[in-house]
C-alpha cells in the first residue's frame, strides 16, 4: 500500500479515483495500474476508504430544524430594520442637502405677478426653434419642459408642498415620483444637470445616489407569482456602468459607501410583509410657474388628484397610445393623467419668441360644461390618435355627461384640424439631438426608450 517502489504521480491517482481526471490522465492511469501492484493497491484502498466516507456522509446528517429558516429571516429583518433606522438620519440629511442646494439654487429665480416681470420674462426667453416647442408639448415627458424652462432661464415661481413618493407594488417596478408633478425623480436630476449648476460634492453625491437608486429599483428586480427573481438584463449593465461611473467620480471608498447606502435604502422595503411598499417623504418642492402659462399649466389643479374619477378605465387607451408596456398600476395612470393635465400646452401662433402659450382653443370656461382639465384631456386624447368613438365608449363608463363630451370633441376636432393646417399646433417634428438625449435619459419609458414624438409619428 505504500507506494515506495513507484514514482507515478500520486495526485493523478487521487484525481482518478475522485473522477476529476482529464481523459488523458485517465488513460495514463489505466495504462499504469495493471503494471503496478502498489498503485493498484493504493487505488483499491482509497476507493474503499472513499466509499466508507461517502457512507458516513450520508448517514451523519444533522436533524432538520424546521424553525431555522424563520429564525434566520427574523434575525435578518431585525438587522435590516436597525440598519434602516440608522439610515433615516442620512436620508433626511440627503433630502435637505438635495433641496437646499439643488432646488434652492435653481428655483430661486422668481417672478412676481407684475407686468414688468412679464416683460422681463419674455426678455429672458431666448428665441427657440419650433422643434423645441413641439417637444415640450409632449405630455408624457412634462419634465422635459421643465428642463427647457430651466435651461433657458425662464422665470419661475416657487409654490406648493409636495411629496417624494416611492411606490412599488410587489412584482412590479418602482418609481420615484414627486406627487404633485408626476415627473420621476430622475427627471428632476436631469434638470439639475442640464441647468449646468456645478454641484458641490454633496449634491453630486446625492444626485448619483438617487439616480442609481431609482434606476435600480425601477429596472432591476421583479418577482413572478412564484416568487422567482427576474432580473431585467439591463440592470446588469446599469450596475456595471454605475459602478464604474461612481468609482471614477468619487473614488473607491466613497463609492463603496454610497453603494451600500443605496442597498440599505432598498433594503427592507418589503419588510412588513405587505405586498407593496410606499414611502412618502414630505419635501418642500418648489413648483415651477411660468408667467404666461397660468391658465394651462398649474392653474386650477384640483387639490385632490386629478384622477379620482375612475381613470383605470382609461388605462388601455393610455397604454396603447402613450406609454407602451409601462403601465403598472392605477397609480401610474394617476401620474400620467396628472402629466396630461399639467403639461398640455401649445405654442403661441403669432409670437414665436414667446414659445410657450396656453392652448388658444381651450377657453377657461368651456361652453360644453366640461372643466378645462377635462378639455385638455380630451384634446390630448384626440391628438394622440384616440378616436372620438373610443373616447365616448370610455367616458360613458365613468361619466354621464356624454353629450357634453360629444359637443366638446366636435369643437376640439375642428380646432385641432385648423391648428394643424396653420402649422402651429400639433405637428410632429423630429426633436434635435439634444432632446433625443433627454428622452433617452427619461426614466418613464424604461428601456429601450422611444421618443414620444416617434410614437406619435407612427400614429400619423
Amino acid at each position: 500500500m505504500n507506494r515506495k517502489n513507484c514514482l507515478f504521480d500520486e495526485s493523478l491517482l487521487t484525481a482518478f479515483l475522485d473522477n476529476q481526471a482529464t481523459e488523458t490522465e485517465k488513460e495514463l492511469v489505466n495504462q499504469h495500474l495493471p503494471t503496478c501492484p502498489d498503485c493498484s493497491a493504493f487505488v483499491d484502498t482509497h476507493l474503499q476508504l472513499k466509499a466508507a466516507v461517502r457512507q458516513t456522509a450520508e448517514t451523519s446528517k444533522p436533524e432538520a430544524n424546521p424553525y431555522l429558516y424563520g429564525e434566520i429571516v427574523n434575525k435578518l429583518q431585525k438587522k435590516s430594520v436597525s440598519k434602516l433606522q440608522q439610515r433615516k438620519l442620512q436620508i433626511a440629511f440627503a433630502t435637505v442637502v438635495f433641496l437646499l442646494i439643488g432646488f434652492g439654487s435653481i428655483y430661486s429665480i422668481m417672478v412676481s405677478s407684475s407686468t414688468t416681470d412679464q416683460k422681463l420674462a419674455s426678455n429672458r426667453v431666448p428665441s427657440t426653434s419650433h422643434a423645441n416647442v413641439q417637444h415640450l408639448l409632449d405630455p408624457m415627458t412634462g419634465s422635459d419642459m421643465l428642463i427647457y424652462l430651466v435651461k433657458n432661464s425662464v422665470p419661475l415661481t416657487v409654490q406648493r408642498t409636495s411629496y417624494l413618493t416611492i411606490h412599488q407594488p410587489m412584482g412590479q417596478s418602482a418609481e420615484l415620483v414627486f406627487s404633485s408633478l408626476g415627473g420621476p425623480m430622475v427627471d428632476w436630476l436631469q434638470i439639475l444637470s442640464n441647468a449646468q449648476i456645478l454641484p458641490d460634492d454633496q449634491l453630486k453625491e446625492v444626485d448619483h445616489v438617487v439616480k442609481l437608486y431609482a434606476n435600480w429599483v425601477r429596472d432591476g428586480i421583479r418577482f413572478n407569482t412564484h416568487g422567482d427573481v427576474l432580473i431585467n438584463p439591463e440592470l446588469v449593465n446599469y450596475r456595471k456602468q454605475m459602478m464604474v461611473m461612481l468609482e471614477s467620480n468619487l473614488g473607491k471608498s466613497h463609492s463603496d459607501k454610497l453603494i451600500s447606502w443605496i442597498h440599505s435604502r432598498i433594503n427592507g422595503l418589503y419588510q412588513d410583509g405587505s405586498s407593496s411598499f410606499s414611502v412618502k417623504i414630505p419635501v418642500q418642492v418648489n413648483i415651477v410657474r411660468y408667467k404666461g402659462l397660468e391658465n394651462t399649466m398649474f392653474a386650477k389643479i384640483p387639490s385632490e388628484p386629478f384622477t379620482q374619477r375612475n381613470l383605470s378605465q382609461l388605462l388601455p387607451v393610455y397604454e396603447k397610445n402613450v406609454w407602451p408596456g409601462k403601465m403598472d398600476s392605477p397609480e401610474d395612470v394617476t401620474v400620467i393623467a396628472r402629466n396630461v393635465a399639467l403639461f398640455t400646452i401649445a405654442p403661441e401662433k403669432s409670437e414665436p419668441k414667446v414659445a410657450i402659450q396656453p392652448i388658444p382653443s381651450i377657453k377657461s370656461e368651456s361652453p360644453s360644461g366640461l372643466s378645462i382639465i377635462e378639455m385638455n384631456e380630451l384634446a390630448y386624447l384626440l391628438r394622440s390618435g384616440v378616436t372620438p368613438e373610443q373616447i365616448i365608449e370610455l367616458k360613458s363608463v365613468v361619466d354621464h355627461r356624454i353629450n357634453d363630451y360629444v359637443a366638446a370633441m366636435k369643437d376640439l376636432q375642428v380646432q385641432l384640424k385648423n391648428s394643424r393646417e396653420n402649422e402651429s399646433g400639433f405637428r410632429v417634428t423630429v426633436p434635435p439631438a439634444e432632446h433625443q438625449a433627454f428622452v433617452g435619459g427619461n426614466s418613464m419609458g424604461g428601456t429601450p426608450i422611444k421618443s414620444q414624438d416617434s410614437i406619435k409619428t407612427k400614429k400619423k
Partner: protein, 210 residues
Amino acid sequence: MATQALVLDQDLGREQTADYQLAIACQSGSSVAFQKLVKMYQEKVRGLIYSILNDASVLDDLTQEVFIKVYTSIDKFEHRSSLGTWIYRITVNHCRDEIRRKRIRRFFSLDKMEWEPKSMGTTTDGLMLQKEKVNMVQWGLSQLPEKHRTIIILKDFEELSYDEIADILKIELGTVKSRLNRARTMLKEVLEPHWNHELEIDESQELPIR
C-alpha cells in the same frame, strides 16, 4: 478604470444563470431575494457546518451567523466565483473562526459517539457493522487536523469539484490534490489499526446494504 471595466466584464458569461441573478438581486438590496437565498442554501450550509464541527449544539447558531455574514458582506461579492462557492467559503471560514476562538472546546464531542476505537466489536451482523464503520470513520475524521478534515468533507461529503474546492479554500488546484491525498492517507493511517482486515471484506458486504 480600464481594469475595473475588465473585471466587470468577466462575469458576462454568468449573467444568465439563476444563481447570478439571485446574487444581483440580493446585492441590489432585495430582501425577498435574500430570503430565497437563505432557503436555497440553508440546508447546505447547515450540513457543512455539522460535518466540519460535528457539534449539533452550536449548529443552528452558527448557521444563522453565517447567513448574517453573507447578508452583511453580499456587497463585497464580486462574482468571481459562483454564489454557492462563495457561501461555502464563508461557511468554512466561519467554522475556522469558531475553532480558533475556541468556542467549541472540542471539535468532536466523543460523548455523543457510541463508538470508541477499543470497543470495535466482533459482530457479524451487516447492519451493525455498517453502523460501526460509519462511527469509526466519523471518529477517524475527528482525529484529523481541521484543514485535512475539511477538504475530505468538501470532496466526499459535499461532492464538490477540485476547482470549487480550490475556490472555497482559496488554494491552488495542485494543493487541493496533494492535500486531499495527504488527508486520505492520514485518515487511512488513523483507521488502519482499528480497521484491520475489515477493509478487505468490506466490498462484499457493502453492496447489498447501500
